[in-house]
Symmetry: C2
Subunit: 187 residues, 2 copies
């Protein structure tokens, strides 16, 4: 019967990232995260299934936004432009959270299990994007190729954004789609 | 002091694939694989560290071939054409082993841990290809984008090859690079 705690999810998330960065993901317990946030373990488990989910709970919403953006894109757009538009929308939503994204990325890079989980997340996003394109009547292999290309661009633009304080993610995504076009044209 | 056994690696590999397909990867023991191959567990461990390695021992050689092909490509080629050439060479080497590749793929698709391992393998191949391009003086993001695009094409061409008896892998790779070019051009 825990009482209502203001912004419990955000407090748990910040406490978890602090601890993962200070002592490592493996070495941190749920009890420590809850304690650092001034909350109980019970409250933790109301928001997250386990300490890994603190880092990955956003993927379902991200996937939903990507798929919705693909489904809602104008009919006249080429598949790659549908994907580019969807990835840009996702990028806009992330833009204000660079510091959190950077901290999360540092935790993930430091742990093999989390790097694997991140790869699976990206592979699932790619499969979902390809599925959403097929729903629009785009055949394979074009649907799969456009989706894979979109996720590759997102990965690379995201890394550039994490590394460079002066750029915003949306413009990096747009630029990277242009780079991909130039690269695949072989010019 | 095991005696020399002719083609022990190949016999163990076939026995392992048979058993993984018959009863599942998880349910198969090394003792059963060795028994099916008419060899000892000791012989198994001379070739493979564990039962997962039976499915992944080829990745190191694959990576080496890809990196060598990138390093040895003519200077005049654009990065994407360097990658396309390397992936085609890898495809040629796989061409005669479609039945084994198909059996291996069926085992991997059926098991979450193996699907993750396969994603990691592909991510490592992409990183190795990007590194080999940087060695040639290709800057990022072009190096990473060309490498990611090459692995995306490989994945898609490989799946088409597994699904379609009448096509050879090299021609599917070549065709898929063309498809990618058309897709990213947005036409």
């Amino acid at each position: 019967m825990g009482r209502w705690e203001p912004n419990a999810r955000g407090r748990l998330e910040r406490a978890a990232l602090d601890l993962y960065l200070e002592r490592g993901f493996e070495q941190t317990t749920v009890a420590e995260i809850a304690g650092r946030a001034g909350l109980t373990e019970r409250t933790f488990f109301r928001y997250f299934a386990d300490k890994r989910e603190v880092l990955f709970w956003g993927s379902a919403a991200l996937q939903e936004h990507l798929v919705d953006a693909v489904a809602g894109a104008p009919d006249c757009l080429a598949p790659i432009d549908v994907i580019a538009g969807a990835v840009e929308v996702a990028g806009e939503r992330m833009q204000e959270r660079r510091e959190g994204a950077r901290r999360r990325q540092a935790v993930i890079v430091a742990n093999a299990e989390l790097r694997e989980r991140e790869l699976i997340k990206l592979a699932n996003l790619s499969a979902a994007l390809a599925g959403a394109l097929r729903e629009r009547g785009v055949d394979d292999p074009a649907a799969s190729l456009a989706a894979e290309a979109g996720i590759a661009v997102f990965k690379i633009a995201f890394q550039r954004w994490i590394d460079d304080d002066d750029r915003d993610l949306t413009s990096l995504i747009r630029e990277s789609f242009g780079d991909l076009k130039a690269v695949t044209a072989g010019t």
